[in-house]
């Protein structure tokens, strides 16, 4: 059987790797972007000079030949689903028996005047990075539109090159549709500490043409004109499905898939950024353009394509990012605006930009989520507490188990408990401090190591 995969991002490549682990099918991965899989999230580090492009490749080039995964550099123009054929630009069509579409995202353009001018671009693909590199030479100011994760990364990139940045953020505080107010404000301060001209509650109205088809300035909704040589569009991404338009594939914003990541067409699957889950599990969104989602979906779809039905279950929500020097981690449910039935414990470091937030259900006192800024917590421990609906006071007293900061770092768990004690009049004390032995004993209880890896080869032969 020949399995074709469109896209060599994390979803497509994870799928290819697991299909190879599970089967002997012929595998072809097609991408127009790069010859080899690289970590998209590391693009910024190439620009900043932390790494070379080849350092962002998780597998050496020989890996693909060894694992008999064919890599094809080509642009898929359309898919002939009836005849199971991929039509390529300037190349012979490719036939498949099963198809995985993992074509990722594109950056959003919201119909701004001038959005297609020279010197306007997003920051998603390798080509986007090349374009940014090209425009950086002699750049006197960049304007970034859209206050999300990519926007702040782009501002940091320009910052390292000493290029002044004006950062237009529609919301009244950075990323406050995701971050609770205090954390969002923490990031505002971090951005401004790096001398970024952060304009909150400001939207792009139009991009000005310099007369030669190149952007020379933006005009904001407040009527202000800001001269610049580059405009970064980072107001989110949307599934990259343009080449599938007018086909029988059922789509809304993304490619609609069921719980087995199957599309409406037999033998055609979708995974990663481009998929839209028909019935998302509670607490999850139908489209999640996140690295981890791509990886989990890629693994899941590999099983399903190899005839081992596995339901897509991304598990308890988690994510991470880095805002300049502030590392950010989130586990579980963490609403930006606390609903009435949620209570939140928030501790912030008096001097440094660090904070810890725990959210729990007021009625049941069950832990719901963790939000960390500048402090590292263990995913396994946090997830176990959330999964087992642990009582907030139980969590607090053992909170040291979650701490994942390097050795010799100060531990702030006692301060978090103090905050809780002050809020509720309780007299809790910290019982467990940071340390792996305690964690291993804790994780071994009941659920650990229930998630032992499957003996995959045997499973496939049965099916």
């Amino acid at each position: 059987m020949h399995i074709a995969i469109i896209g060599n991002g994390v979803a497509g490549i994870t799928a290819a790797r697991f299909i190879r682990k599970l089967s002997d099918h012929e595998i072809t991965v097609i991408s127009a972007e790069t010859d080899y899989f690289f970590s998209r999230t590391a693009l910024m580090y190439i620009y900043m000079g932390h790494m070379r492009y080849k350092d962002t490749m998780p597998y050496e080039p020989w890996f693909w030949e060894k694992n008999r995964i064919n890599l094809k550099r080509a642009w898929v123009e359309s898919v002939d689903f009836d005849n199971k054929k991929l039509l390529l630009k300037d190349d012979e069509p490719v036939s498949y028996d099963k198809l995985l579409i993992a074509s990722g995202s594109n950056y959003n353009k919201f119909g701004w005047p001038g959005q297609d001018l020279e010197g306007v671009g997003g920051m998603y693909s390798y080509q986007d990075l090349e374009k940014i590199e090209k425009y950086s030479e002699g750049l006197e100011r960049a304007v970034i539109v859209g206050g999300g994760l990519i926007g702040i990364e782009l501002s940091e990139m320009f910052h390292t090159r000493d290029i002044p940045v004006t950062f237009l953020v529609r919301e009244e505080s950075f990323w406050n549709i995701v971050l609770p107010e205090e954390e969002s404000d923490l990031v505002n301060r971090e951005i401004r500490a790096h001398h970024i001209d952060l304009r909150l509650s400001t939207e792009l109205k139009e991009i000005v043409d310099d007369g030669s088809g190149k952007a020379c300035a933006v005009i904001t909704d407040k009527g202000e004109r800001i001269d610049c040589g580059f405009v970064g569009l980072t107001a989110g991404v949307h599934p990259n499905t343009g080449f599938l338009k007018d086909s029988s594939l059922e789509m809304q914003k993304g490619i609609l898939v069921n719980e087995y990541l199957e599309t409406n067409i037999p033998d055609v699957y979708a995974a990663g950024d481009c998929m839209q889950v028909r019935a998302p599990l509670s607490g999850r969104r139908p489209i999640e353009a996140v690295w981890y989602v791509g990886r989990i979906a890629g693994e899941t779809v590999a099983y399903n394509m190899c005839g081992v039905p596995v339901k897509y279950d991304p598990g308890i929500w988690f994510n991470s990012a880095k805002f300049y020097n502030i590392e950010y981690q989130v586990y579980g449910d963490m609403p930006a605006k606390m609903p009435d039935h949620y209570a939140s414990i928030y501790w912030e470091h008096p001097e440094e930009r660090k904070s810890i937030r725990l959210v729990y259900d007021k009625e049941s006192s069950e832990i719901r989520g963790f939000n960390l800024m500048g402090v590292r917590y263990r995913q396994e421990v946090c997830h176990k507490w959330i999964r087992e609906k642990t009582h907030i006071e139980e969590v607090l007293q053992n909170l040291g188990l979650a701490n994942f900061d390097p050795e010799f770092y100060k531990e702030y768990e006692a301060a978090v408990i103090n905050t809780y004690n002050e809020q509720t009049g309780s007299k809790l004390r910290l019982k467990k401090r940071r340390g792996l032995s305690g964690v291993l004993r804790f994780l071994r209880d009941i659920t650990y190591p229930a998630r032992a890896p499957v003996d995959k080869a045997k499973k496939v032969k049965q099916s």
């Binding site: 970590s39 580090y45 300049y324 263990r378």
Partner: protein, 616 residues
């Protein structure tokens, strides 16, 4: 304006300029004097180490060599040389003639032949001529520098240090956090012309230091006042080396602490290597020497300290009282108890990135080059072969030395030198063939590059060694093998390659490919230790920062992205992977809960048996 380099203030630019001026002056100082033969020192050196009983036996005067040399020395007398090179050429010519004359005299007038042991005792051997060169050159240096060494020392090192700190200290104005901007745009840190120049300078320094120390005479004179103050005797080239080494660790340690001042693990660790270098490697041995006690670096452990079990060291320690015996017992206890115990509790890091001098230099002076270590699979394969080969070599060599020490028997095995070279190539070829059968997918080109480089260096080194010897045979004896180890591993690998290659192959070339102690501790760490680098569940984004900044060339990402804890013999526990991780995925930690199964856990979210619905 847009630029691809880090910000430098005016102060920092002046600092660099001052440092460069000091470095150039320091280098030029090698030639800031004339050389006129110091006859008393040569006379003393010529007689040094020859037993007077033996001389008496053949009716030779105490000044036998000196008298014989008079005629040969005529051209040197009253002659002033402008450089160490000219001076040493003349000196070596004279010594060469002297050697011939001594041989002739021994054969013709004393009735000795080459099969007599006494002949070899009395003949002026090549190593002796080599040993004479440095003290004689140092004593013969006259003029500006020797007359002004005190204030020149203050000026050169004062300006150099001032410049260095003017460059380093202003880095505190940057906000604390990971500082790797423009590392790969830098001509210094990514094999640009600055890096190449630095590497060439370092390699040159090490070659001269180990093999032609006479050319460093003026530098040694420069640090004489410090040596006099510390231990009451003049400096030699090893004092100079220790002084520069310690200074490099201290100055670049300050830089490291500023760079990682947000990270207490690195701050404390850097203080630790600075302390151990300053106190244990530099000060304590000087103080012991000034007290006429055996002077040892108490943290240096066999087999890194490969001469620990050499008879002169054992004899010296045993004969110097309680302290000497304590040092002998201490050294053995470290190898037998200390290493396994500490490595079980804390992993390799307790030594390699907290205590060791080589590690100390790598973590401070070498930190800017850590990203240059090779991360490929074949790099790892070569590393394992090489480092364990050196371990076996060190253990075997020490075994032979001890055998000879206890039995007074020096077994010798000789073979034609070209046959020996072919044999080495055959063994090497067999290894390559074996490797290709095991790992057919590793690209042939990469393998050829590595084999070509290592093979060429090895062959040239051996051929050069052959040319310098008259004999057409290679003798494998305890002393021969021991001198090979000292030459190729102790000086060539640990020194020239170990530090000289910082700007080319990263700061841990020696530790990774050559250090037998690292290999030994690595085995403990791999098989029986509480230490590991934990992966934080599924948070890895495969960005590659951890692998890029791993000085030991470990592909940390390979483990992190599959949620597997890193357990690798090579890992020195520097903790930089955890520090540069943008998502808080890695943590160095110890636990005795799961010592034997710690490599197995897969912490990322993976499909499990429970998730699969079996088709009925």
């Amino acid at each position: 304006m847009s630029k691809k380099s880090t910000d430098k203030t005016i102060l920092q630019k002046i600092g660099i300029a001052l440092f460069v001026v000091a470095l150039i002056t320091f280098t030029a100082a090698l030639n800031l004097s004339q050389f006129q033969l110091d006859e008393p020192v040569l006379r003393e050196q010529l007689t040094l180490g020859v037993s007077s009983d033996l001389l008496d036996k053949y009716g030779m005067e105490q000044d036998y060599y000196w008298e014989l040399a008079q005629e040969e020395l005529t051209p040197l007398r009253n002659q002033t040389y402008g450089t160490t090179f000219a001076f040493n050429n003349a000196l070596k010519d004279a010594m060469k003639s002297l050697q011939d004359e001594v041989q002739q005299d021994l054969r013709e007038n004393k009735g000795l032949t080459t099969s007599d042991g006494d002949y070899w005792q009395l003949v002026l051997q090549d190593y002796k001529v080599q040993d004479i060169a440095f003290p004689v050159t140092k004593a013969s240096s006259q003029g500006f520098l020797p007359a002004n060494n005190g204030w020149l020392l203050l000026l050169i090192f004062g300006v150099g240090l001032l410049g260095a700190f003017m460059y380093i200290l202003p880095k505190t104005r940057l906000l604390p956090g990971i500082k790797n901007d423009h590392v790969y745009h830098s001509k210094m840190h990514y094999r640009g012309w600055l890096g190449i120049a630095t590497g060439v300078y370092l390699i040159g320094f090490y070659v001269v230091l180990y093999f032609f120390a006479e050319h460093l005479a003026n530098w040694v004179i420069l640090v004489d006042p410090i040596s006099e103050a510390l231990r009451g005797s003049p400096a030699d080239q090893w004092f100079l080396y220790g002084f520069l080494y310690t200074l490099a660790i201290l100055v670049m340690g300050v830089r490291m602490i500023i760079k990682y001042r947000h990270n207490r693990y690195h701050v404390i660790r850097t203080f630790s290597v600075m302390f151990f270098q300053l106190a244990f490697a530099f000060m304590i041995p000087q103080i012991l020497a000034s007290l006429n006690q055996p002077s040892r670096d108490l943290k240096n452990i066999w087999p890194l300290d490969y001469s620990f079990f050499f008879e002169y060291n054992i004899n010296n320690l045993i004969s110097s009282g309680t302290l000497g015996v304590f040092m002998l017992v201490w050294g053995i206890a470290l190898v037998v108890i200390g290493v396994p115990l500490f490595s079980y509790f804390y992993g390799k890091r307790w030594y390699c990135s907290w205590v060791c001098g080589c590690g100390g230099l790598a973590e401070t002076l070498g930190d800017p080059y850590r990203q240059l270590s090779d991360k490929s699979l074949i790099g790892w394969q070569i590393e394992r072969w090489m480092v364990h080969f050196v371990l076996v070599f060190a253990v075997g060599m020490t075994g032979l030395v001890l055998y000879t020490y206890f039995t007074n028997n020096n077994p010798t095995f000789s073979m034609n030198r070209w046959f020996f070279l072919v044999l080495i190539w055959l063994v090497g070829g067999a290894l390559i063939y074996y490797h290709r059968r095991l790992f057919p997918s590793v690209p042939r080109r990469k393998l050829l590059q590595v084999v070509g480089a290592v093979g060429t260096v090895l062959t040239i080194a051996l051929v050069v060694g052959f040319i310098n010897k008259d004999s057409s045979t290679v003798s494998l004896s305890t002393y021969q093998i021991r001198s090979w180890y000292g030459f190729y591993i102790g000086a060539g690998f640990a020194g020239v390659v170990g530090t000289g290659f910082y700007p080319f192959m990263g700061n841990r070339v020696w530790c990774r490919f050559g250090c037998p102690l690292a290999a030994y501790i690595g085995i403990v760490q791999r098989f029986k230790s509480r230490f590991r680098i934990t992966a934080n569940g599924g948070q890895c984004i495969s960005c590659g920062n951890c692998s890029t900044y791993c000085e030991m060339g470990i592909d940390v990402r390979w483990y992190a992205q599959r949620g597997q804890d890193v357990i690798r013999a090579a890992c020195v526990g520097c903790g930089v992977c955890a520090a540069v991780c943008p998502r808080g995925v890695l943590r160095l930690e110890n636990s005795s809960e799961d010592v034997d199964t710690r490599a197995q856990a897969q912490r990322a979210l993976h499909i499990t048996k429970n998730d699969i619905q079996l088709l009925s």
